[in-house]
């Protein structure tokens, strides 16, 4: 048997997936608490022990892992204009699977430096200026960053005419300092791929060790990437296909978690109707957004606040009932609903989280009245015609009503300016394998694709 071991060191759980490469099927999945404080291997062994070992023992041909343990990949991004290079830098960091703690624009201030010191990011991403454009901000910010009391990995992805000099300045205080292509080489052009690769490289060479994940590397081949990056990679493969194996086409993945809700879309998002003008920064084809205030457990209070009346209207509960339920989750974040009422609350919360997260992910259309009549202006991606929405994440997996929760992603005619999918077909990542398949893509893309098509089921 050609078994491959795929591991996701999550913030809470270490999840293992064992795959038979020849039969293209899952041999087993299991999870156990992540043990970052002691030895990361303990949790992994505990998870592995749950899967019955064959008589001849495991013979893993490959052992790969991704990680969001120890706070995930924490990044701070900085650019020149808030809406331009600072936003491009933020998107590059998100696309690399990072948690973005802060985004700074213009010249860094002493207060900004204090924030950097206090939040201890894993990587700084420094952008600013289009190629041949503004040089001062990149150089000044590099000088400024030398005043930091801590040494950090820095990725420079700004004006190419100044990035070499900026890197020289940064090297006086920071290590490693890596130069990537400009995240915005020309105005309105987003080019995040090179920065994304540079971030991943720094993650592999430096972050893995500083987070205590290197202990696992003696057993594993290596920790390949941050978990969100693995999911995005799986999504990309599933959308585009590989070789002669066809993909599913444009799609969206919604990952509802205890602390955040992530949305990945693999779609161009061009206007679906004629005569619509596109404004604002272009969106990457593979786009990821993370909503830190939309989670089912750790951020359930923030979710109730964000959904406002909508939640109460849906549930028909009083403020006290909701507060009482939130109290229960505060006591035990991994509480499984005990009664039908509790289950109803969970479904409502899930639908709100999906609804708001997708709302923030997709683009908007607005009517602009000009002296020549109404014109339509679109910001972001138009996903109204998107055919496929895939749900994943613990909350959806253990529920029979995943479909109802995912309905939150659907276009609402009363909010017609928000360009959500109108008639998508829903799928569920039933075995929770997307991150694992993102890893498997590294060694056997075709198998990973076929397995996803098999295990991601239509609802």
């Amino acid at each position: 048997m050609q078994a491959v071991l795929l591991i996701d060191f999550g913030s809470t759980y270490t999840k293992v997936t064992i795959v038979d490469l020849v039969k293209e099927k899952i041999i087993g999945t299991a999870r156990a608490g992540t043990t970052i404080e002691t030895n990361i291997m303990d949790g992994l062994k505990a998870a592995l022990a749950q899967i019955p070992e064959p008589a001849e023992g495991w013979n893993f041909v490959r052992k790969l892992a991704c990680s969001s343990a120890a706070g995930g990949l924490k990044m701070i991004a900085s650019g020149l204009v808030k809406e331009l290079t600072a936003e491009a830098a933020r998107r590059a960091a998100l696309g690399a699977g990072a948690r973005v703690l802060h985004v700074f624009s213009y010249e860094l201030t002493l207060q900004d430096l204090d924030k950097i010191t206090a939040s201890k990011p894993d990587i700084l991403l420094l952008a600013g200026g289009t190629d041949g454009g503004n040089k001062e901000v990149l150089l000044k910010n590099s000088e400024m960053l030398c005043a930091l009391p801590i040494c950090l990995p820095v990725v420079v992805a700004g004006n190419k005419a100044a990035s070499g000099q900026a890197a020289e300045i940064l090297k006086k205080r920071h290590d490693p300092v890596v130069i990537a292509d400009n995240v915005m080489p020309e105005l309105g052009v987003l080019a995040v791929e090179s920065a994304r690769l540079a971030i991943r490289d720094v993650f592999l060479t430096h972050i893995v060790k500083s987070k205590g994940l290197d202990k696992a590397e003696e057993f594993l081949e290596r920790v390949m990437m941050p978990t969100p990056s693995a999911v995005l990679s799986a999504a990309e493969l599933l959308a585009q296909g590989y070789g002669s194996e066809r993909g599913m086409g444009e799609l969206m993945i919604v990952d509802v978690g205890g602390a955040t809700t992530d949305v990945h879309s693999l779609a161009k998002g061009d206007p679906s109707k004629p005569g619509v003008m596109l404004k604002g920064l272009p969106e990457p084809y593979a786009k990821r957004t993370v909503e830190g205030d939309l989670g089912m457990r750790y951020s359930s209070e923030a979710l109730v606040e964000a959904s406002g009346r909508r939640l109460f209207d849906y549930l028909g509960w009083t403020d006290e009932q909701v507060a009482c339920q939130l109290g229960l989750y505060k006591e035990d974040p991994w509480r499984i609903p005990q009664t039908e009422e509790e289950a109803k609350f969970d479904v409502a919360m899930g639908q709100m989280a999906v609804g708001l997260a997708v709302e923030r992910h997709v683009g908007t259309i607005e009517v602009v009245y000009t002296p020549f009549g109404a014109t339509y202006v679109q910001h972001g991606k138009d996903l109204t015609l998107l055919p496929v929405v895939i749900g994943t994440g613990g909350v959806l997996l253990y529920r029979s009503d995943a479909l109802e929760i995912l309905q939150g992603a659907v276009f609402n005619p009363e909010e017609a300016t928000i360009l959500k999918p109108q008639q998508p077909t829903f799928y569920l990542d039933k075995e929770y394998i997307l991150a694992a398949m993102g890893l498997l893509r590294e060694v056997a893309p075709q198998v990973a694709l076929r397995m996803m098509k098999k295990y991601v089921v239509k609802l």
Partner: protein
């Protein structure tokens, strides 16, 4: 010599895209690097584009007659954002009705524009002016 950078756009709720394309083509052919922010451009978009690209000039078009409203305060915002001395041109059908162009020109010069062009100006004129104002001519 380093290419001079121009930010070009149609300001306000104005959707006249054809002239914008022609200007883009003409200035590019004349050797400038054109950052075209297109139609429906706000003052902020002109300024942000100019900051990020370290532009040498802002070229504002307005065809629909509301130019005076749309352009007011642009110079002040440039000053506030640190690019107060940037070269600014404006042209098109800047105002409604048949107004005396000299009076219109005065108003826009007072607003802080360096050059103001009447309807029907050919592209050669601003190109020649840019060369002069940016120190690209031989003399």
């Amino acid at each position: 010599m380093e290419q001079k950078v121009l930010v070009l756009g149609v300001i306000g709720s104005d959707v006249h895209a054809v002239g914008n394309r022609i200007l883009d083509y003409a200035f590019t052919q004349a050797g400038f690097k054109v950052i075209n922010i297109g139609v429906l451009a706000t003052q902020e978009e002109f300024i942000q584009a100019a900051i990020e690209t370290n532009a040498d000039a802002i070229l504002v078009s307005s065809l629909y007659g509301h130019g005076e409203m749309d352009c007011r305060g642009l110079r002040e915002k440039c000053q506030e954002t640190g690019i107060g001395n940037i070269l600014m041109y404006v042209g098109g059908n800047l105002v409604c009705g048949k107004q005396d162009f000299e009076a219109v020109k005065e108003r826009f010069l007072a607003m802080g524009f360096d050059r103001v062009y009447p309807p029907g100006t050919m592209t050669e004129t601003p190109i020649a002016d840019l060369r002069k104002d940016l120190g690209l001519t031989a003399d």
